[in-house]
């Protein structure tokens, strides 16, 4: 057993090293992208100070937060609405709609970006490279990810709906007063997933924001990516590490806190297929 414990500890170290490296590099005093030693020779908080005073990071952070908040509200509402309808109400178009959505989900999401870009240009002619656009991009297609929540609703006994119908409640009331209060775990799962997505997305934001000279409109992912490009890495590497710590800490804590719901959602989804 001792041996096993040792192997496990080694594995754990292996897994945590990159994150540890990231954190200590954020306190590195010497400039430049690469340092020859694992631990910094000079410890400093300047990277953080610089992050908040000299860079656009605060506005990226704010942008991302607003986008994440709004799109997670819309996404959650959409996902719950669609999955409840598909799980509970047996209307004629149900099966065909579910099949079409299954097919749509198999196209790479990025494929239609150029057309989305043009559509946004029409809908928001003066402002198509903005937070609003990103919110639309992140949440408009939310209906496609109904599957996990539908799987959850499928496990809520139908007799609850029927009892409520006999008690005189209409479908809307059943949804809001009976089913939603029972769906805490799946609601939290959906919120968690949709809140984290904009923080981590790179591909969509880099397309929507391509060619925008004003970097203050970026989200954290895009802005920080730019820092690590060849031209700027030497200057910004340690700042990047500080920014990464600032971004990752709340997200990580949030995730760890709500881990239970995440596992429930993922396992439920995986098991139900």
């Amino acid at each position: 057993m001792k041996g096993r414990q040792l192997i496990l500890t080694c594995l754990a170290i292996l897994w945590i090293v990159p994150l540890f490296y990231l954190i200590i590099q954020s306190f590195r005093g010497e400039p430049g992208a690469w340092s020859p030693t694992f631990f910094p020779q000079q410890w400093t908080l300047d990277n953080y100070k610089r992050l908040f005073t000299e860079t656009n990071f605060p506005s990226w952070y704010r942008n991302t937060f607003i986008i994440a908040l709004v799109s997670c509200i819309i996404t959650t509402a959409f996902v719950l609405a669609v999955s409840y309808a598909f799980s509970r109400i047996k209307f004629k178009a149900r099966k065909p709609m579910m099949n079409i959505m299954l097919i749509l989900g198999m196209f790479p999401g990025f494929m239609s970006m150029s057309a989305v870009y043009f559509l946004l240009k029409i809908l928001l002619p003066n402002n198509y490279q903005s937070m609003a656009s990103l919110i639309i991009v992140y949440s408009a297609g939310a209906a496609l990810s109904y599957y996990v929540a539908k799987g959850f609703f499928d496990t809520v006994p139908n007799s609850l709906d029927e009892a409520a119908r006999i008690d005189g409640a209409g479908r809307a009331r059943i949804f809001f007063e009976i089913i939603l209060p029972l769906s805490k775990s799946i609601i939290i799962y959906t919120i968690l997933i949709s809140f984290i997505a904009p923080w981590c997305d790179f591909i969509f934001v880099s397309y929507i924001m391509s060619g925008v000279p004003d970097t203050s409109k970026y989200t954290v992912a895009l802005g920080m990516y730019r820092w690590l490009e060849r031209e700027s890495i030497q200057q910004y590497f340690t700042t990047f590490c500080a920014a990464a710590v600032v971004v990752a800490t709340p997200i990580t804590l949030l995730f760890m806190w709500l881990q239970k719901y995440y596992v429930e959602g993922v396992t439920g989804g995986a098991v139900k297929g």
Partner: protein, 466 residues
């Protein structure tokens, strides 16, 4: 009241109903469903205006050469020959924008489809209203309608907004881009300056042919994509399962702490961990002041081996898969430990009574059970990995490049999806090829999941719990 109309009833109907075929909602207005009728009438007006002012023209341009091949749009931008002193150039007279033609053409087609459906509904309702009138029944009023949409038709209310979002920002763009695959839209036929043309299945033929350099590039990228997806899926999956079993072992202390530690690596936003790892693996690229990333240096110092990440295709590929294990194993560990605890204990007990050792128990009980339960998850993971943009793009950016084996911007670790990204953005813009790749990725995903779903024993009927 059921709504099955027979044409016979329409033919026998009275003038008012027949008039409603021309002016949607007239029948409703005169038969007690005023609000509904007005909504119908207004939507018809809007539709007609849209078609006259806008839709009709784009539809004409869309279909002009659709079946024969040729320009998408009527006229190209041309230089008028008048000197514009303000910008110091000859004035350009703007022509049609081919991309808009495709986009609006598709949009208009959908709008026509919706209008026809709405029209047919209104006609059916109109006939029903007349018949209801005949047998002396009152139709539902507006208040009743509202209640109806909160109860019996609540699904319509629930689905309307999500579906509008889906339609506008997924379906219309997707169909548009599918259409682009049948044009020659690329950097040489750039809108709005130039028109592009319908070319039929030419792009597919080019892409799939084994002889052209483009075709060779495609098959190479596809090959690596499949190798990557397979390896990435299975290494992470089995790694995670083993790790979960390992932690789950009776003798292991601090189980929760270990689990939390591993989970922490999932919780950190992927772009952060990927970018830091890519820099840790970097060779330094001749930049001043370094022998490269910390891992590169470590390997150099300890094993005296110069890591060629980003320089040598095979090395890069191997390390991408290793890094992906770093990301993927905790993820599937999290999933597997949940399911492991659900395996009925008596299965193991009876196996132990039969004298099966740990290895045999794993082979005969754990593995089949896990595969049975997580079969669908594996499919989604596999398809997710085919489309795993982040890991490749943020780690290697697709590199290293190889101008002999690859063309059109593709590099040696590019997946189809990162190639697609490069083709729609940056210097190698080639929208037609991007669309073709998108369609082919869809075909691969669809075929794969169809085959696996049909064979998978884990396909369970929905609603078993109800």
């Amino acid at each position: 009241m059921k709504n099955n109309m027979k044409i016979k009833n329409l033919i026998k109907s009275n003038v008012l109903t027949k008039l409603s075929c021309l002016f949607m909602g007239i029948g409703h207005i005169f038969r007690g469903q005023t609000v509904r009728g007005i909504v119908y009438l207004l939507s018809e007006a809007v539709f007609v205006l849209y078609m006259i002012a806008f839709g009709g023209r784009y539809l004409a341009m869309f279909f002009q050469n659709f079946f024969t091949g040729g320009n998408v749009g009527f006229k190209e931008t041309y230089i008028s020959g008048e000197w514009d002193p303000n910008i110091g150039e000859y004035t350009k007279v703007p022509g049609d924008n081919s991309f808009h033609v495709v986009l609006y053409g598709i949009l208009t087609l959908f709008i026509i489809l919706f209008f026809v459906i709405t029209w047919w509904r209104s006609v059916k309702e109109s006939v029903t209203l007349e018949q209801l009138n005949i047998i002396g029944r009152k139709p539902r009023n507006f208040r009743g309608d509202v209640g109806h949409y909160l109860d019996a038709k609540f699904h319509t209310t629930l689905l309307s907004l999500p579906m509008i979002g889906l339609f506008l920002f997924t379906i219309v763009p997707l169909v548009t881009m599918i259409m682009i695959a049948f044009t020659n839209y690329d950097a040489n036929h750039e809108v709005p300056e130039r028109l592009f043309q319908w070319v039929g299945i030419q792009n597919f033929a080019d892409m799939l042919s084994g002889n052209s350099s483009l075709g060779k590039t495609f098959w190479r990228v596809l090959g690596w994509t499949m190798v990557w997806a397979t390896l990435a899926t299975f290494t992470s999956y089995f790694g995670g399962m083993l790790l979960a079993i390992f932690i789950n072992n009776k003798g292991i202390k601090f189980k929760k702490a270990y689990r939390t530690l591993f989970v922490a690596t999932i919780a950190v936003p992927q772009f952060v961990s990927l970018m830091i790892l890519s820099k840790m693996l970097d060779t330094g690229g001749g930049m001043p002041g370094s022998g490269g990333g910390i891992i590169t240096q470590f390997i150099e110092n300890v094993f005296n081996y110069h890591l060629q990440f980003g320089l040598d295709a095979t090395t890069t590929r191997v390390w991408i898969i290793i890094v992906n294990m770093w990301i993927g194993i905790p993820y599937s560990m999290l999933l597997c430990s949940g399911i492991l605890m659900n395996i009925p204990k008596d299965l193991y007990e009876s196996a132990r009574i039969d004298g099966a050792g740990p290895a045999r128990q794993f082979r005969k009980i754990t593995l089949p059970y896990m595969l049975f339960v997580t079969g669908p998850y594996l499919i989604t993971q596999f398809i997710g990995n085919i489309n795993n943009f982040n890991v490749i793009f943020l780690l290697s950016g697709g590199g290293p490049g190889d101008n002999i084996k690859y063309t059109n911007g593709a590099k040696s670790t590019d997946l189809l999806i990162t190639w697609l990204y490069k083709l729609s953005l940056g210097t190698d813009r080639n929208y037609k090829l991007a669309s073709v790749i998108g369609i082919l990725v869809f075909v691969i995903s669809a075929v794969f999941s169809l085959v696996v779903y049909n064979r998978s024993s884990a396909v369970q009927g929905e609603g078993n719990f109800q």
